[in-house]
Assembly symmetry: C2
Homo-oligomer: 378 residues x 2
């Protein structure tokens, strides 16, 4: 199997970037990744663009022409909140095919200045017809977790406190503001028990990564970061018996651990799709970071904090860093690369060697539609 | 290089399929391809869905769950009118990577019952801001071709007559209606010199193809059809000096011919993206089927007709068969496979051994954004 490395990453600040177009955000992220890799834009042989709320067709071409990238295959990919991860994975597959040596994965999204709320499900889905929105779905999971394991609303709030504290150390995070448990619990109720500060915000932003084969990587950098595993899978689309169990994340992470030849105990940190506080709990438990029901005990012990042995979401996660949907999966890769290179500044995870990025997205028949897990190694 | 075969294809009838949902169309196409391949849906390891005018996110998962396909990577791809070709190409790349042996390429689109006209450019593009729509763009190209080569309005109309005559022999074609040159010229003017019957209609439909590695193909069929070349490229996004020259199609077909180790003279027929009559002229000339300016002479001689040595668009093309955007690229592959297997019924190209499918899509800075060329061989 070919070894694929990430040799350059770039990311805009995430936020409500009023007056900045999706094209500008994409150009900035792509250009920063190219500069970081030290390559010529003309060296890029294939590109993928993760984007959900489309501003126009062929958005990848419309962005990349302004970075001097043309005359190559450029394709938009979409898998709801996992779209950025799909862009990365397609770039990885293209290099795995042996037909390409250097690929660009771009993720970009503009959620402000777009008209109707883009985060609600589209009209045609059953979920939309019955008024069943993501916050309601996650609230049900929180209720079940509280009933089953005795998880408290204070513990839920603590996750937001932790991720916002991390975001304060990340200059690209949408928010750099500390919250207390009281702040989080006193913010407006969205869907009981989830309050506003327990939900990911509306965000704009872009992120990009340059991937290449091992041989090519050695020409450009002394710090290649290898993609040890790239796994993507879909739900089983059957009614889940127990909402605290995510079969999707279990299967996907199992594939990734097998591909990388490691277990969750070998990871130094992880970026996890914390679209709501409860999502971080359910996902960490199903990605194998602890046993089911044991996330909150570890949380109380500070085990997921920066400075501990296994920090979760050092970037601030979706809760603080923001969630420009198509960009999120690629932004996780940027974060992984910065830590694995030792370039993450104040929030650096000490001596990080192996890390995991996880995104899940979309809902079909009450089940998450897509799950992507990437494991990177220095 | 791994050899990849198409072992099953399926396609709905194209048309204004009022009351049929995008999910139903996708299910029918996917199911027909699976039956045609004689495989179990659970054998499919990865799937791509080409779709432009999105009805909902994760549309591939929403469709494929009803065909019994789940727990595998499923990704939507978009490259405007070339989206179906991208689905095919990503499925091909996935098998080329050696990580997968059986892949599904689905293309599906619902243009009726969708609200605002989906065929106009989206609001954010420069083209939309200046009111520059596809018909106007192609009308300019027609004017230039007429000025440069003396092409007549009757010759333009003849292309529609030819493709509608072919469509009469294709039970899946949106129209099965013969037109005369007068019928075409007397239909309402859209953008001079292009009349209504010279433009592709609004269509709904789905198409699917099952791809697999050579070794696996031999288990399922005695008639594997091989993908001899798959090329995808983007425009150079510079103002074109001469609108009758399509640098994009020249580069893309050159790559495909080189990959297949053949020239255009080795092809038995082609399916070409005839979104307007003039598009068939410009594209055939740039795909190397004749020298620039010589398409119309050959047209008058009947060289592109069914029954001649090199028929163009035996399916009826976009003009008669219809153009459900995301489905078109995959539908071309269905047509190629049926002819190469000798299963195309009344419109069969005699003893067809090698054929080409071409799609182009999207506009960025006055240049087509994407071009895909596939060459299939029996």
């Amino acid at each position: 199997m070919r070894k694929v490395a990430v040799i350059g990453v770039g990311m805009t600040k995430f936020g409500k970037l009023i007056g900045q177009s999706i094209e500008e955000l994409g150009v900035r992220a792509a250009w920063d990744a190219i500069k970081d890799a030290g390559i010529n834009p003309k060296d890029i042989q294939i590109a993928y663009c993760g984007n959900v709320i489309v501003a126009r067709d062929v958005i990848g071409q419309a962005i990349l022409k302004d970075v001097g990238i043309n005359q190559i295959p450029i394709t938009r990919v979409e898998d709801a909140c996992a779209s950025g991860s799909c862009a990365l994975r397609e770039a990885w597959l293209a290099i795995m095919s042996g037909l390409y040596d250097i690929a660009l994965a771009l993720g970009v999204e503009k959620l402000t200045e777009q008209g109707p709320s883009p985060l609600s499900y589209k009209d045609r889905s059953i979920e939309a017809m019955v008024g069943f929105q993501p916050a309601g779905w996650w609230a049900m999971r929180a209720q079940k977790h509280m009933e089953k394991y005795g998880t408290t609303i204070e513990q839920l709030a603590k996750i937001s406190v932790k991720n916002h504290a991390n975001g304060c150390l990340n200059p690209r995070s949408q928010y750099q503001k500390k919250f207390t448990v009281d702040d989080v619990l006193q913010s407006p109720m969205v869907a009981e028990p989830l309050t506003l500060f327990q939900a990911t915000p509306i965000s704009d932003g872009g992120a990009a990564a340059i991937l290449c084969s091992e041989e090519v990587a050695k020409k450009y950098t002394t710090k290649p970061i290898y993609i040890a595993a790239s796994a993507l899978t879909s739900g089983n689309f059957e009614q889940q018996g127990d909402l605290t169990i995510n079969d999707l994340e279990r299967r996907c992470s199992k594939q990734a651990y097998e591909m990388a030849g490691i277990g969750p105990e070998d990871l130094d940190f992880a970026e996890v799709h914390d679209c709501f506080t409860i999502a971080e709990i359910v996902r960490c438990e199903n990605l194998g970071f602890c046993k089911p029901g044991e996330y909150t005990k570890a949380l109380d012990e500070g085990r997921w904090d920066l400075g501990s042995a296994f920090p979760i979401n050092p970037s601030g996660g979706l809760l603080s860093k923001g969630h420009p949907i198509g960009a999120t999966g690629v932004a996780q890769i940027c974060e992984l690369v910065w830590h694995l290179r030792g370039e993450a500044g104040e929030r650096q995870v000490a001596n990080a060697k192996v890390a995991l990025g996880h995104c899940s997205g979309g809902t079909v028949a009450g089940d998450n539609a897509a799950c992507a897990v990437h494991i990177l190694k220095r």
